[in-house]
């Protein structure tokens, strides 16, 4: 069973439908035990970093993600759902940084480009031995974000460039994440979702 963590408003319907193309059993949930027990957990992103963390805390999301890692159960973060896995976010942080879930040490900072958000389809330099990008290494994916991680916390790192090079996906044993939206990236995105579901 694949659970999509529902911790606020936003477009979760598309995510559910996209994952349902790769699995017969996809649920939206904000229930702690259901999220822990799922074979795969998807953490979508909602709003800004701080708002996202606030929403996550409302469903004990950080605890769910950490516990799943201990139990060696796969989790996939998408967009802001990737960013909050790092230890710090600098979005709208005039008074210092916001604390993230901290699966990985490192900060998420503004992308250095003249026009933001980075919105649209961009290519990736996929990691060697990537599971997520198998067979779709030269495809484009749909991005919408203004902040990103610039350092790789694990060896299986995938990069993209917009103004500067940033981390567009990471695969670190049981925790993976994409800065782009696979659920909005057409056939390439569905192929990536299928790759992840098959790996569970």
């Amino acid at each position: 069973m694949i659970a999509i963590l529902d911790y606020g408003s936003g477009n979760l319907r598309s995510a559910q439908r996209a994952f349902a193309t790769a699995s017969d059993d996809v649920i939206l949930t904000s229930d702690f035990n259901e999220a822990i027990e799922a074979d795969g957990l998807v953490v979508p992103g909602v709003g800004a970093f701080a708002a996202c963390m606030q929403g996550l805390n409302g469903v004990k999301g950080a605890e769910i993600i950490r516990k799943r890692k201990e139990l060696e159960r796969p989790t996939l973060g998408i967009c802001i759902g990737m960013q909050i896995l790092f230890s710090q976010g600098l979005e709208h942080s005039d008074k210092g940084s916001h604390a993230g879930v901290g699966i990985w040490e490192g900060e998420v900072s503004k992308v250095d480009a003249p026009i933001l958000p980075h919105m649209g389809w961009n290519t990736v330099e996929s990691a060697q031995q990537s599971i997520l990008f198998k067979g779709i290494e030269s495809e484009s994916f749909y991005f919408v974000h203004s902040y990103a991680a610039k350092n790789a916390p694990a060896s299986r790192a995938t990069w993209s460039t917009y103004g500067e090079k940033f981390l567009s996906a990471i695969e670190d044993e049981y925790v993976s994440a994409t800065q782009f939206h696979p659920e909005k990236s057409g056939r390439a995105g569905l192929a990536l979702i299928k790759n992840w579901v098959k790996s569970l």
Binding site: R17, A18, I115, G120, S140, Y142, S146, K184, R187
Partner: protein, 257 residues
């Protein structure tokens, strides 16, 4: 390794059908929205935009259903505009499966709506739709409302600067003079808006020839929106993209089947 230009077909929707007219009048039926969305996706559309031109709220319920059915089948970004007046309207559309919403008249009437939506959902969901025409305002461009039928005396560039400060994530610039004419985008207007904005810019209104698309990109548009040339089969999206690709623009040419 660069961001691709986006080609976005726009579907004007009312009563669950797609319609298209010239300068927002003389509407003719152009097809079923869900079918057309799937077709455009298969042809390589980079995003889709639905503009709800319904007059009544009961028709808007029909549009929510169209959004739901489209989001179930089409896995590319979907923007919905038309008749959005509150944070709750945005919430309903996002929950139905829209990724972004575009607002126009309601933001002119009450600009704080921009900040309210951006604070709740993030500015990345919010497209400011500007229906502008050439007029004797300070910049030479005036904001219109009600689908171009009413002038406001508001200067278009001043309005865009204000809206960006309040938190819009993208600008959809529609030339009311060029809309539906297929005589080319308003290049002067695109250039002027690009010069004062730091968010992505979608150019709309007037697309006719392949060269028109290229000229709008040269003027600084990040994305190109068109309706009639696609609906009436004058151009195929795939052909436009192949032309722009051959001209050296960064285009997403999907390779997966």
């Amino acid at each position: 390794m660069t961001l691709s230009v986006r080609i976005i077909p726009c579907l004007d929707v009312t009563d669950g059908r797609v319609v298209k007219g010239i300068n927002f009048t003389n509407l003719v039926d152009a097809g079923d929205p869900v079918e057309m969305a799937s077709l455009y996706d298969a042809e390589g559309a980079d995003e889709l935009t639905f503009l709800d031109i319904s007059a009544s709220s009961s028709n808007r319920e029909t549009t929510l259903d169209v959004v739901r059915r489209t989001a179930e089948q089409v896995f590319i970004p979907l923007t919905v505009g038309g008749g959005i007046r509150s944070v709750d309207d945005v919430d309903r559309l996002l929950r139905a499966g829209a990724d972004k919403v575009s607002i126009n008249t309601a933001a002119i009437v009450r600009p704080e709506l921009i900040a309210e939506i951006a604070d709740r959902f993030g500015s990345q969901v919010l497209v400011l739709s500007v229906d502008a025409r050439r007029a004797r305002t300070e910049s030479g461009f005036e904001v219109t409302t009600h689908g171009g039928r009413e002038g406001t005396d508001i200067d278009a560039l001043a309005w865009i600067e204000k809206a960006c400060a309040l938190g819009v994530g993208e600008i959809l610039l529609n030339s009311m003079d060029a809309d539906g004419t297929r005589a080319g985008y308003d290049i002067g207007m695109i250039t002027a808006v690009r010069a004062i904005s730091k968010v992505p810019l979608i150019a709309s209104g007037g697309a006719g020839t392949f060269e028109d698309f290229a000229h709008a990109l040269d003027a600084g548009a990040d994305a190109l929106l068109a309706a009639s040339v696609f609906h009436f089969g004058i151009h195929r999206i795939g052909d436009v993209k192949r032309y722009l690709d051959a001209q050296g623009y960064s285009i997403r040419m999907s390779t997966s089947k």
